[in-house]
């Protein structure tokens, strides 16, 4: 592009033909080339004001994050995972797009547009100060401006789409209240793109070019200070949030020292927690998939995060004011099933579960929780061996009656019964059938003479005293019995043994029975059965352990598998996790009933589960539907049905 300086400037066409013989006669970006000193000073002053306003609001926020307690278990290295997450989640916008395709793509265009615009914006400001560096004559500038224009079109289209979605379509997850600030920001972004694109259609000799330049600048300088006042702070923070995240899934940090009881007050919030609280974009993806929020409970994961943000804004990161109070009611924190749908969905790397469990810890470890069912569970596990409050002799009788072999150190596998497998009637059926399958396969296994609850419900409820006692007692028992490999029918046991016990020792290898069965499918009888079984992905097997294919393979081995409407990582919780099977649900619809309704709607004649808790919840929900409700079978039961004849228990 040529310049329009004074009378000497040659005419456009002529310049094009002479200087760039290969570039067609296309419009290019018009930029005013000459700003008077007054204009340049004016621009500098405005830019400075804008920057100061930005900083005035941003610095206190950054300060609150930096003044929070350090995360004791934070390790910057290995960088590999962090760099990959940054590349995939931030640059490629993978989760943003995959979990909500159309709005996600629209957002991706807006984001990529911003990235592509980096040089444009820099140059724009430089021009205003008289030191523009992208000379429109050069081939690079022309190429770059066209590239940016392409992104600008995509960005403008994206922001328009998002605006329509928020203000006309109005999805439930964005909340009932219309965010005018979002609308204004959308307008600003659109204005930025529009003023940029319009500059292609004017010549830089016009006042039009100048006006467009100033309009663009205005949009920019108004946008900047708004960023730290709104959720658009995520522009600045979220790349850091994704990069610095804890990693893993539902990674609960260990307590540090004698005075750490979890998230009791502001002073307990760590830097990661504060960073995450300020990164929330209020997109509502977490809420959309939350079983509590979907069934009329007070709990809304988005509000938990925004509540922490509100708390930090009012009380700060060193306050002793309880976190469960003005901004986050205790009731909400204890309605969480820890299903993880929220954390899984979050596009900016917020890890809801450590925060919610942290809040629970703060209430339980200090005795602030007054809940009869909770107290009953804690007392049962303080004194006894299982969460159901039953005598251990009950389990002994079950083992004797089913003639299950006892683990003596010589067998390959320890079959972990767990509370459900050892004491619950349905759980026992699953164990018995799985034992039949193992007998058929000739697997060498045994069950422990004594087991204590793995501590999953108290861990998720935040009772670290009882959890530590259970973990340590169990680890010692396993070591004494020389257990090397565990197979369990319960995903909660598997998760707790493998991950949560690590804090107190080295747990043996552990796997879920779906993984075991899938490995042995070739040795198990195959049938051709048209029976339709709808498989429900348990939270602790799916999202927590990434095990989706193995149970499906097991189901498909004997019957016709039907997918549930919300499946795999979108699976809708049965409602039992997070200790809620023991606390109970007091308000709204029952989560299990909602899930069962959609499972039944698939037309399947059987509901297939892989978790004894899901099994128990669905048993109740199906019973409530009356006669004609589908059968309920665990994958072990589906497999055992096909065994040639009832096997005698292994007399080892």
């Amino acid at each position: 592009m040529n310049c329009a300086l004074g009378r000497d400037a040659p005419r456009r066409d002529h310049v094009l033909l002479v200087r760039s013989p290969m570039i067609l006669d296309l419009p290019t970006l018009a930029e005013p080339r000459h700003f008077s000193l007054a204009e340049r000073l004016g621009f500098a002053a405005l830019a400075a004001t804008s920057a100061v306003l930005f900083w005035n609001r941003f610095w206190p926020i950054l300060g609150r994050i930096l003044h929070s307690r350090k995360d004791a278990d934070f390790h910057l290295f290995p960088l590999g995972r962090r760099l990959w997450d940054f590349f995939w989640e931030v640059l490629c916008q993978a989760r943003v797009i995959r979990q909500r395709p159309l709005p996600g793509l629209a957002h991706a265009f807006v984001f990529w547009g911003f990235c592509a615009f980096a040089l444009v914006t820099l140059n724009h400001c430089a021009v205003g100060l008289g030191i523009g560096f992208l000379s429109p004559d050069g081939w690079f500038a022309r190429f770059y401006f066209y590239l940016a224009a392409a992104f600008a079109i995509a960005c403008a289209g994206g922001i328009l789409g998002l605006f329509i979605r928020r203000f006309l379509v109005r999805p439930r997850w964005l909340g009932a209240h219309l965010s005018w600030e979002s609308g204004f920001i959308a307008l600003l972004i659109f204005a930025l793109m529009a003023t940029y694109l319009a500059a292609f259609f004017v010549s830089d000799a016009n006042t039009a070019a100048r006006l467009l330049w100033w309009a663009h600048s205005a949009a920019l300088l108004i946008f900047l200070p708004i960023i730290p006042h709104t959720k658009h702070l995520h522009l600045v923070l979220s790349p850091a949030t994704v990069f610095l995240s804890r990693g893993g899934f539902s990674h609960i940090p260990p307590l540090v020292g004698d005075e750490d009881f979890g998230l009791v007050a502001g002073a307990d919030l760590t830097q990661l927690a504060s960073l995450q609280a300020y990164s929330c974009v209020e997109c509502g993806r977490c809420t959309e998939h939350c079983p509590a929020a979907n069934t009329g409970k007070l709990l809304n994961p988005k509000e938990i995060i925004l509540g922490l943000r509100g708390y930090l804004n009012e009380f700060g990161p060193t306050s002793t004011e309880p976190l469960l109070g003005k901004y986050n009611p205790q009731e909400a924190a204890f309605q969480c099933t820890t299903c993880g749908a929220c954390e899984f969905q979050c596009p900016v790397g917020i890890e809801h579960l450590p925060l919610i469990v942290g809040l629970r810890r703060g209430a339980v470890n200090t005795g602030a929780l007054e809940d009869d069912h909770g107290a009953k569970l804690f007392l049962a596990l303080e004194r006894g061996s299982n969460a159901l409050g039953l005598s251990a002799s009950d389990r002994d009788k079950f083992i004797q009656k089913q003639d299950l072999p006892l683990f003596d150190g010589s067998q390959e596998y320890c079959l972990w019964l767990g509370c459900m497998g050892g004491y619950d009637p349905k759980g026992r059926e699953i164990v018995t059938d799985f034992a039949r399958v193992m007998n058929y396969l000739g697997t060498s296994y045994g069950v422990l003479r004594k087991e204590k609850c793995t501590g999953d419900p108290v861990r998720r409820l935040g009772n670290d005293l009882v959890f530590q006692q259970l973990a340590e007692a169990n680890l010692e028992n396993l070591a004494q019995n020389k257990v090397k490999k565990i197979v369990s029918i319960c995903p909660h046991c598997v998760r707790t043994i493998q991950e949560d016990w690590k804090e107190f020792g080295i747990p043996p290898e552990v796997e879920h029975h779906s993984e075991f069965l899938a490995r042995h499918l070739s040795q198990l009888p195959r049938t051709v059965n048209e029976e339709k079984v709808v498989y429900h992905d348990p939270c602790y097997l799916g999202r927590y352990r990434d095990v989706y294919e193995e149970p499906r393979a097991v189901v498909s081995h004997s019957v016709s598998l039907v997918e549930a409407p919300r499946n795999r990582e979108r699976s809708f919780c049965c409602g039992a996790g997070g200790g809620l099977a023991f606390l109970g649900e007091e308000t709204g619809e029952r989560v299990s009933h909602v899930r069962v309704a959609e499972l039944v709607a698939t037309g399947a004649t059987t509901v297939g589960t892989a978790c004894p808790f899901c099994n128990t919840m669905f048993r109740d929900a199906l019973a409530a539907r009356g006669d004609g409700a589908p059968q309920l079978l665990d994958i072990a039961q589906l497999t055992a049905r096909n065994l040639p004849q009832p096997n005698q228990p292994n007399p080892r």
Binding site: E259, G367, D372, A375, G384, S393, N463, L465, V466
Partner: protein, 256 residues
Amino acid sequence: MKIIVAIKQVPERDAPVRIDAAGKWIDEADLNWALNESDAYALEEALQLKEKHGGEVVVLSAGPQRVGSTIREALAKGADRAIHVEAADLAQRDALGVAQLLAAAIKPENPDLVLSGLQSDDLGYGQTGVIVAELLNLPHGSLILHVEKTDTGLTVKRELEEGWFQTIELPTPAVLTIQSGGNKLRYATLMGIKRAKTKEMRRVTAAELGSATAPVAVLEHIALPQKQKSTQILSGSPKETAAALVEKLKFEARVL
């Protein structure tokens, strides 16, 4: 109010009971120990009184070294300090012998109130608390569900049979034995356990408290109950079978 709660460490509810070689007690090897159930309710009642009226809750327990863990549990739940009467021979003492130890430990403390569980989960005599009251020459109430402090002393609710209750007024100092179920128990918290580490636990040996008198009641022999099932089918008209049943219940089963 200064309240002393006398607690006992007993075998865990789930513990497998095996009679020892001598046939006089259970085999204590391999057992897990826990706080006696009605003592837990006594402790809860004491803690609630302290929360309402201020003062101090002192936990007292007699027994071998392992009793320390149960004492710490009580401290974790909110007791202020503890006294551990070290006695390795607790199982060989009768209720009088144990009560003598406890009374000797309680006397110098001059408490306003002594609470203890109604009976122990292992021996179940139901006597120790009452004997303590007698040794200390204090008024007592047993089977107490609820305690209220009044200007003149205490008003307590006592459980009788068949859903009947009795309200008693008594002066302080007094001894009360507490029945299970009067309150909701509080759960042990991490904060409680951490704070308990700094609370005082005073140790005193049984010998320091005076020599024991010879037991007046001795456990001669312990055996597991014989379980036996026998089914009789009564035939005849309903009137006849009813009559036959009443006779059997009266003279064979002896439950009427």
